[in-house]
């Protein structure tokens, strides 16, 4: 059973897997299928699911299938192919200090990183108001509030902060409640409001203070969480972040099956589980659920999942869809005028725009996080809405006529629903959190949401994939012994 992993046997599996990783062997393999039953089914071909499968393969196991609902891999990472072989990421895209799991993966896949271009002036907008500031990729919040938040964050344990003394008091209130209690000035509220909307897709009243603190704790400081320079948005992947998943899937070959929408999972409490998809049913001994809790909620489980898991899936936030645009130009001419392409806007369609040009500048690209409600659905009107803000803010009418314009609304993607998880006050200390990670029967929970650190980031997804593979291998071992 994957449900309760005792630490010693977990480590044994880890050591065994590590030993096998260097020299693939058949020690764990049972052939692709025994009596039509796979060892492991992985649901979801994002970073978490593909990392799981890759680890299984590296441990010598080829009795698995990765089932992906879409006709592509990569989950919440997505490259838009542009002219001249360039690309722009319209999903998760950055890697920053401390994100060692995704950094290791990139190195193994021979995918290089490069620094985001952020040097220069940014423009802040509110209504007709416009302020130009030389930011150079730094975000500086009000020092007193920052110091107090960071002190609260440092006092928390790195993992499972919801178990810490005093956690309930920090989870009972929202970031907005805390700013109220600190009597924060309107301007300082505004900077936290922009940060909260950008990072978590909600305003501060919908965000648990404890959740915000765990993110600061993980990043090391508020600046590291929010900034580009020395922060979580510092570097990008050559070829775009989706390339990580594409490379892994290529190596896994037929192990990855696209266009398989999982509708039901039957008999997860038995030795052999049946996974029902739109293209037929498959059976396996273990099932890795490399999906966010709201996506798990869309699958029919029989028997019903334990009450705590059901409640967690029902309550897990799915309302931070995020919408991103990419506007493509012949060159990154905004740098010539000293701008870095960044516009922070309190209202209107653009939340934050930034330079996303390819490193060799064969094209100029400005990406923008958008307020989906302010974006017309008609493509021409959508392009005008965004480029008008860019041209007016950066004072350059060339921005009105991009060569290409792309929009990605993750809220419309039924196999994503939401990019990030803004946990509301009360959820972290509701007693439901163990159900996020504790496996039940043959089910192993993965996905970035389940990671101990960098939850919600690409790094968290990779970490969760490593953990899931170890749990699956350990579960197979104990089954073989029995």
């Amino acid at each position: 059973m994957a449900a309760s992993v005792d630490r010693r046997s977990f480590l044994r599996s880890a050591v065994a897997a590590a030993a096998l990783a260097g020299a693939p062997s058949r020690a764990w393999a049972s052939g692709p299928q025994r009596d039509g039953v796979l060892d492991v089914i992985v649901i979801g071909a994002g970073l978490a699911g593909l990392t799981t499968a890759r680890d299984l393969a590296r441990a010598g196991n080829d009795s698995f299938a990765v089932l992906e609902a879409r006709e592509r891999v990569g989950g919440r990472t997505l490259n838009h192919a542009l002219r001249n072989g360039a690309w722009s990421e319209v999903g998760g895209q950055w890697i920053g200090p401390g994100q060692t799991a995704v950094a290791d993966l990139a190195r193994e896949l021979e995918i290089e990183t490069f620094e985001s271009e952020y040097r220069g002036r940014s423009v802040y907008r509110y209504g007709e108001g416009r302020v130009t500031v030389r930011t150079d990729g730094e975000v500086a919040n009000e020092p007193q509030l920052t110091a107090e938040l960071e002190a609260l964050a440092r006092a928390l344990p790195a993992e499972q902060a919801w178990n810490a003394d005093g956690a309930a008091a920090l989870d009972r209130i929202s970031l907005a409640d805390w700013l109220d209690a600190r009597d924060a000035r309107p301007l300082d509220r505004l900077t936290f409001q922009i940060a909260s909307i950008l990072e978590m897709g909600v305003s501060p009243s919908r965000l648990s203070l404890l959740h915000f603190l765990t993110m600061i704790r993980c990043a090391g400081s508020l600046a590291r969480l929010e900034a580009q320079k020395d922060g979580a948005q510092e570097r990008r992947f050559h070829g775009g972040s989706q390339l990580l998943s594409i490379r892994m899937a290529e190596a896994l070959g037929e192990g990855v099956r696209l266009g398989h929408v999982v509708r039901a999972i039957r008999g997860w409490d038995r030795e052999v589980v049946e996974v029902v998809t739109t293209r037929g049913a498959l059976r396996a001994h273990s099932v890795v659920m490399a999906l966010s809790p709201p996506l798990c909620e869309r699958i029919a489980f029989s028997p019903a999942l334990p009450a705590a898991r059901r409640e967690l899936q029902r309550r897990w936030p799915a309302h931070a869809p995020q919408m991103k645009a990419a506007a493509i130009y012949p060159s990154a001419f905004w740098f010539d005028a000293g701008f870095n392409g960044q516009v922070f806007a309190v209202d209107g369609p653009v939340i934050w725009s930034y330079d996303n040009s390819p490193p060799d500048h064969r094209l100029g690209v400005i990406n923008a996080f958008l307020r989906a409600g302010e974006m017309p659905s008609d493509p021409a009107l959508a392009e005008r809405a965004v480029t008008r803000v860019l041209a007016d803010s950066l004072r350059d009418d060339r921005l009105l006529t991009p060569l290409e314009f792309h929009v990605q609304d993750w809220g419309r993607e039924e196999f994503t629903l939401s990019c990030v998880s803004p946990l509301p006050p009360g959820l972290l200390t509701s007693g439901l959190m163990p159900a996020l990670t504790d496996g039940v029967g043959a089910l192993i929970w993965a996905g970035s949401e389940t990671a101990d650190v960098w939850r919600g980031f690409m790094d968290g997804a990779v970490r969760s994939g490593h953990r899931a593979a170890l749990l699956a291998l350990q579960s197979l071992r104990s089954q073989r012994r029995a």
Binding site: G127, V131, G373
Partner: protein, 218 residues
């Protein structure tokens, strides 16, 4: 560019420096002044409404548009909807009787009082014309098709509390309206009296498109 560019230094909010620079250099920076005034105006609105409600509305606005008057045709516009209708929908999302994977967890995170307050908030805004639609020729059958809607939704599709709780359809998002009709037709969405399911089952795909487009342009 007539505006000066202050430098952000460590430990100080970038905007604050820019605004602070106004005082230091003692010259008028029109853009920055307007920015400052917008912040002051926001502070006044917050004091009137209560900070909590205003902040909650900012989360809702992200998909539903400023004051519930969004430009998106996909996410529904909330401005001018009957408050009781909005509240009933939030209650239905929380209870799971109206299936909406994105709205259910959000509704569950709100207290019944918050659901009522935010419903009243959006109902209080006048519905602005739906300007997010590309121009298109009108279908001659549309007016005829939409006539049946007026019995419950009002003569101008403005929504009603009586005889049944019926949402405003005029100016609603075109894709949203079409999606709801398809959901009523398939049984994925049910209305208390079953009226909408019966009506939607009588409509073909083409008729749903025509009707949704006609209502979105009212």
């Amino acid at each position: 560019m007539s505006e000066r560019t202050p430098n952000a230094s460590a430990g100080r909010a970038a905007i604050a420096i820019a605004l602070g620079a106004l005082g230091l250099v003692g010259c008028a920076l029109p853009g920055a002044l307007r920015f400052q005034r917008a912040i002051e105006r926001e502070g006044t609105i917050e004091r009137t409404l209560g900070e909590g409600l205003r902040d909650l509305a900012r989360s809702c606005d992200l998909c539903h548009g400023h004051d519930g008057n969004g430009a998106s045709q996909y996410y529904p516009r909330l401005a001018g909807q009957p408050a009781a209708y909005l509240e009933a929908q939030l209650d239905a999302f929380a209870a799971g009787t109206r299936g909406a994977p994105q709205m259910q967890p959000l509704a569950l995170s709100l207290t019944p009082d918050e659901r009522r307050a935010i419903s009243t908030y959006y109902a209080s805004f006048a519905a602005a014309p739906n300007t997010g639609l590309a121009p298109a020729p009108s279908d001659p059958r549309a007016a005829e098709l939409s006539r049946a809607c007026t019995a419950c939704h009002g003569s101008s599709f403005e929504g009603a509390e009586m005889p049944v709780r019926a949402p405003r359809l005029a100016g609603q998002g075109q894709e949203y309206l079409a999606r709801q009709l398809v959901a009523f037709r398939s049984g994925a969405r049910v209305d208390p009296a079953g009226t909408m399911s019966a009506i939607a089952r009588s409509l073909g795909d083409r008729e749903i498109e025509t009707l949704a487009d006609h209502l979105a342009r009212r």
